[in-house]
Symmetry: D2
Subunit: 344 residues, 4 copies
Amino acid sequence: MKIKAGIIGATGYAGVELVRLLLSHPNVELKAVSSVSYEGKKISDVYPNLKEICDMQLQNEEIIEVCDVIFTSLPHGLSEKFAKKCLEKGVKMIDLGADFRLDSAEEYTKWYNKTYEELALHEQSLYCIPELHRGLYKGQPIIGNPGCYPTSIALGLAPSIKSGIVVDNSIVIDSKSGVTGAGRGLADNTHYPNCNEAFSPYKVASHRHTPEIEQTLSKLAGKNVNVTFVPHLLPLNRGIVSTIYFNVVGKTDAKTLRAMYKEFYKDEKFVRVLDLGEVANLRNVKFSNYCDISIHYDEHTNRAVVVSTIDNMVKGAAGQAIQNMNIIFGLSEDSGLNYIPPAF
Amino acid sequence: MKIKAGIIGATGYAGVELVRLLLSHPNVELKAVSSVSYEGKKISDVYPNLKEICDMQLQNEEIIEVCDVIFTSLPHGLSEKFAKKCLEKGVKMIDLGADFRLDSAEEYTKWYNKTYEELALHEQSLYCIPELHRGLYKGQPIIGNPGCYPTSIALGLAPSIKSGIVVDNSIVIDSKSGVTGAGRGLADNTHYPNCNEAFSPYKVASHRHTPEIEQTLSKLAGKNVNVTFVPHLLPLNRGIVSTIYFNVVGKTDAKTLRAMYKEFYKDEKFVRVLDLGEVANLRNVKFSNYCDISIHYDEHTNRAVVVSTIDNMVKGAAGQAIQNMNIIFGLSEDSGLNYIPPAF
Amino acid sequence: MKIKAGIIGATGYAGVELVRLLLSHPNVELKAVSSVSYEGKKISDVYPNLKEICDMQLQNEEIIEVCDVIFTSLPHGLSEKFAKKCLEKGVKMIDLGADFRLDSAEEYTKWYNKTYEELALHEQSLYCIPELHRGLYKGQPIIGNPGCYPTSIALGLAPSIKSGIVVDNSIVIDSKSGVTGAGRGLADNTHYPNCNEAFSPYKVASHRHTPEIEQTLSKLAGKNVNVTFVPHLLPLNRGIVSTIYFNVVGKTDAKTLRAMYKEFYKDEKFVRVLDLGEVANLRNVKFSNYCDISIHYDEHTNRAVVVSTIDNMVKGAAGQAIQNMNIIFGLSEDSGLNYIPPAF
Amino acid sequence: MKIKAGIIGATGYAGVELVRLLLSHPNVELKAVSSVSYEGKKISDVYPNLKEICDMQLQNEEIIEVCDVIFTSLPHGLSEKFAKKCLEKGVKMIDLGADFRLDSAEEYTKWYNKTYEELALHEQSLYCIPELHRGLYKGQPIIGNPGCYPTSIALGLAPSIKSGIVVDNSIVIDSKSGVTGAGRGLADNTHYPNCNEAFSPYKVASHRHTPEIEQTLSKLAGKNVNVTFVPHLLPLNRGIVSTIYFNVVGKTDAKTLRAMYKEFYKDEKFVRVLDLGEVANLRNVKFSNYCDISIHYDEHTNRAVVVSTIDNMVKGAAGQAIQNMNIIFGLSEDSGLNYIPPAF
């Protein structure tokens, strides 16, 4: 018996990546796809890469009841109503948007200019980066799927934060993302001639992923953790590199740090801690669910540098959502996720 | 019982793409990989995308006897000796290089400056684009896997050539290939700053794929077919687009032409004939074994324009080699090849 | 006394390229810039590359009377009214749009779905690729500045057409343009993730530049010339490569052809006929007013291949417009156009 | 009387950029170019963009005596001998390599594995970022032209360092450079398919520009300044973005910081301090000698973020070398450097 899955918001970038991955999942039947913008069209008319592979018609939101699990991939502020319906119907929901990521209703309102309308829903949800939070899964019906930047950063910092070696207020995170991270919507800064042969940060120290990052790190630390987070737009399609800097309590060296990471992730298939001397490159994780982490240490300033890279559309969105689905349905976490990153 | 496969020349671009695809093939065990340049190293040291996925050690050529099938991916002139060994050991061989593509020893010498040393070997080999030549497979122990440009072009022209509508000597083929087509070797024209934001043809009307293209078309036509073939280097990694022009005998229209193609390929999973008004884009076939073909007709010059696109590393190399392996071993032709092209 | 120049439509891509080039022209004072979309803003707010270099305020169309020459860079159908005003005020006008390119009102209506409202205006205009048409300049007050594709193609074909060696109905033109050719407007096909690592033709045998190309070639030939013209979108910012194929009357060879081109362009600074064995690459003309042409000959099909490349924004738009302005005002044709293409 | 200039190492990337800029300089005659690798060839055979513009023959090093100024653009360890000759002949020398950047012979040996053979030469040289060091020019015959990363960083930090607001040991510099920064030599990491759609840091906290950065900052501060410096390779041709983080003594805000920068650079043509809310993008300085700086402040961590961007080949190499030449010869500093960055 296959899991019947549906996608609400299937024509956004994360949505169509979910389509691709779910179609290849051995335990899933992609039952229905919906899209407000393209209702009635075939999804392969919108994304011709899917021609003759998935010619399903895009429906409206009434797909919930025929599914066992619903993935929502929507602009913030739109997911609560679907969560409510899912709960009523006993359907699991995995939200790839921002509506089930922040515990604090105040923070959500501050950063997203929206309000949690149904607080009870949020109490039944779990924010889940599997490698860090799978132990907290107790049957919650709603999963808040993490953001792309926060995933790369939390995986890159968790071992250090948990071990207590990070000097307070010393964390600087310089992240760079491919353009798919900006989504399908047309905008001046993603118009090809503006974006090609160009590079700059954006939303400097003011990106909405900041509270999500700090929430995760603070929980891991057992105390309040603040970071300076600056994202940049890379002229390429896929992948995030987060270069993470922090000062170390006492003295250490790269070898010790690297051993700590290796131990922390020793049972994690999707986290590859590189050897000393290797440097994480988004090229090596593209189109896969891997997170590659390399460890460096600047002795003369006593500062650690951790480089963490993921494919923003897979481990940073659709792949991690499926990993969460696998947890919910008791499957092996890597089911349907054994993509080998291509060499080029 | 899985098919035991080995790759000679595993660290070239086609070789490492074979590694990736064979590792995911449900009926194959990747038994051994060899490389002259990197013997003794782990393949994941050369290609870190494979880290923890395939850490096999690169061997020398003595891998033949432990395998059921050997893929050779070598510069021209080096495959005959492996073919001989494979024949002796009863091992099937699929050659991704140029040594088993041309029937005529003279043409081979003219274009490649090498000589067929063992003519008997070539009599036991089959040049095979499955959609066009699978009917000719009668157990030949050696397969000459077609070149990337010739695959895109033969699939784009076959229905027209076979139907007899192509005016003699009217075929112009303007092809454009991504840079992986130039392979792994360093060269001035593939140095990033020379290649990025640059575009030009190369080997104008003198590319080595010309005789292979003409051989295939001539056989389909039952008479000698000459073409003007000009390849160009595109500033992107993967994919070939061949824009093919020819004059039509009598008059026709796009609808009639398109119907003919649709009929010709009606049972072919990997050839997608687009609807009228759609235009083939390499974006929609990347990382997959599909060939997308769109049909256009310029009424005012009575000239057909066929656009044919493939991923040069998959349908143009490693994917087609596996499709040929599937034929040899009686598997479904799409075994291990059900890759869905990503939307981006 | 400097020439006072104004630009109507200064915030489009050709417009802002004109701003850049005119600011460096030793005989020009950029007097005023106008833009419907951004009236009242500083042009450097729209294009921050101009910050502190040109902070002029964008005005409305009332800039004509303070200028000696007006450049219009507008969507088709909008230039006639400005031409009329310019004529009334005795101001020269150079139109970078499509409204003064086609002699035939019928063709204009057929391809652009608009009508020439004031036929008299068109009788006072000159379509001018300087290398081919400067002899026709007799003080016409309006210049129809040629399109980018037609410029690359006419320069690539003129010597052959004029010499009578081109077989009737044998011309195939496969052109490839960088994305700036599509202009500033946002569109799905120029959204970065759709355009990057992608390639395809568009408007196959139906692009609006076709009648302009045929008009120029027919006049050169003294008889009707038809071509098949297929443009493609290249994933890079600037530059056009036109690969032009035609059959040759009788027999010839590359050396003879090349000598003919060299002679034809012997006094032309901006046309560089490459040596035999060299291949024109858009990389070598970017950011300059040069047109590079390489000559090839396919003996076995008796077909010539001419590769012609320009920077679509300079020789294909703003640079050629300034070259035309220099003709009007009796300046050396290369005034303000001595840009050296960078190596990278 | 024009300044007679020569270039030793003219076929490297900085060398050929110098050729381009010097050819357009109104006060310079490019007298001679030399190249070990290509002696005897025309420079336009090596760089066909220069065809018919500069067809000078590449000579050997014996060009010094016919010049007033020599630019050396060589691998480290090779410049001293030319400096000695220049001194003997009374010819000025501007070294674009690393041999005259570091005051400390020990540091030079530590980072470059070479030795200063002639200490006296170094005492007669000046390291000069004009905006920071022009006051130190007292006729020194040798100029050590700064590195690309150090230029972007020193200009980004100077106002803060000099004002004393930077907390000790808090500086983190995350820089990203286009691929021309890696030069002309072929290497695996600059092979197009390895570099395109890829991104990673390199030489993490171990790049040779680190001591140069710290030397400049320490002199500005009047005390020892250490930084963590991590460079990254961007998949584009030109430009550097340095994102610079530091903690602020006491409290401040973006407006105050920005006003300080604006005041510091109020007379500097080539440094553009952006308005609050704007973000520096390498797109806006490409092909020009500008350095754009944007100022940001993260209140919740009390950390400043300064973004500094230059064209690595112009302000980071050849342009700054010409700016230094202008100082030596008493010309206006912007002579021959009034390039307007193109919009795309």
